[in-house]
Symmetry: C2
Subunit: 333 residues, 2 copies
Amino acid sequence: MSTAPVVLGIDIGGTTTTFGFVAPDGTCLAETELPTRASEPLSLFMERLTERIRDAFAPISVGHDLKGIGIGAPNADYRTGKLVNPPNLKWGSNVDLAGLFRRAFGVPVAVTNDANAAALGEMAYGAARGMEHFMVVTLGTGVGSGIVVNGEVLYGADGFAGELGHTVVDPDGRVCGCGNRGCLEAYASAGGLCRTFFSLLANHDGDSSLRAVPFSGLSARLVYEAARQGDRLACAAFEETGRILGIKLADAAALLSPEAIFLHGGLAAAGNLIFDPARRSLEKHLPGMSRQRVKLLPSGLGNRSAAVLGAAALVQRHLEKEQPPGFTTPSTR
Amino acid sequence: MSTAPVVLGIDIGGTTTTFGFVAPDGTCLAETELPTRASEPLSLFMERLTERIRDAFAPISVGHDLKGIGIGAPNADYRTGKLVNPPNLKWGSNVDLAGLFRRAFGVPVAVTNDANAAALGEMAYGAARGMEHFMVVTLGTGVGSGIVVNGEVLYGADGFAGELGHTVVDPDGRVCGCGNRGCLEAYASAGGLCRTFFSLLANHDGDSSLRAVPFSGLSARLVYEAARQGDRLACAAFEETGRILGIKLADAAALLSPEAIFLHGGLAAAGNLIFDPARRSLEKHLPGMSRQRVKLLPSGLGNRSAAVLGAAALVQRHLEKEQPPGFTTPSTR
């Protein structure tokens, strides 16, 4: 009996890990989510994840052949296959992600950072098909970006290009998880939105349905739900988050001249609450001749995970042609 | 008698225009400077420039054959050969620079912006030889940047990538020549340095040898000379200019991960006065894992004009192989 080839795409986020088995045409089978539990040791995470992967593959294993694994994860190094000091995960400074998965499943593994994976997914199956210059910005636990120039993901000299989340909003501003001050990630992530909300609460006397919620109990979801119900301070928090995001997107667009910028991740799911102020601010701060030339768009993949599809597209591509330095196969390691 | 091929490289700056005849090995003959006179009509500038070019070529014309012209100019569009709303020149909104020179000299013409030309010069003949990822920042009348990724100048979707000068230092900051507020160009250009000096003069009571100089009489050169003689406010103006520049260089490095950033232009000639504070600030604001990985360097071309050499390298390259969309030859137009 013939089997159809699939690759496993895995997106490891600061809060949630998602995976799915992706066919060459982009169909995603058995997509599964589990909590990442960032404070848990890596070994426990690997145990939970590999078990869930085997469980998910079991029912489809008869008709499908697993050919490779692509992984998107924060601070993952495409060139070495390692996870280097991921700011929102406490797994040590140099985790050989590609090696771990290669040993666990005995198939080739390719690794890239989560935002690059999202860009690859958007380019392979989403709204960036055919675009030579674009950028995907992930707004979640952290803020990342995957930059595509001349149809290729930009890795740069050290392999870590695309650190939009650590560009500077205010050199004297909020302390960021990375140790610097005033990074975009401290403003335009889920936690950044909450901090902006609390800062507004502290500085204004407007009423808010969230006055009774403690700092430790607040989540981006609560701010979103309050804003949807018209809570003025919650709406203002989105407005301010979008304004700040738009300035840094304009900076990136001035340097890169992308055709489009795609917003992905939890905060992007807030729709117009974040897109409207971000678009106004982007347009205002773009260099004159670039105005109205840079589209700010949601993912073209709808509810499908761009990073899962992109991680799958990454390994698929390497199975078909080149192999990156960090690409590990059972025979090479 | 056999003649040696040369190409003409021209660098049109906001204040000074420089040209030279460049041999395939990078030797530059008859390098000449003339004032640009930004407020003068384009026709007068063309008249003066073509006359000077013919004068300079006359003595070497017997042994040399002019094969092509490469031009670097602010806001020049590589793809169309046109000058689009150059912010520091009053020549109208769409000057067909390639066509003008093609008609005047009857040879193929290639055009790019001045900062891209400087990057091409650094890559062909300077300290960026062999680098795949770097950036040249020009600090003069304006602030520009030429970005090289994967060994190619980055043009982006609209052809105008590399607008570092119009990234945002402060959204409520100084009015910039482009109409936006708070652009880097309003801080890290020659004029920006003067504005910072006057702002320090207004806000501090320290003594300065430049207290008697009116706003309209101040130049970056005067601030430089005062700083060299230990004038504390002049030194502080360089310090502040470098600090601001370093933040925006860190932003660009976070996105692009260059191996090196080269500072060119008049302000870069101030040496340690600008390099030291810029380097400190760049290092402070880089994402943690990129620290000490991005070199901040002066041009490797010394007193030779990177933009003249780069403009020459551009047309040389196109004579040898491809032709860009904006490349005009006598036969095609």
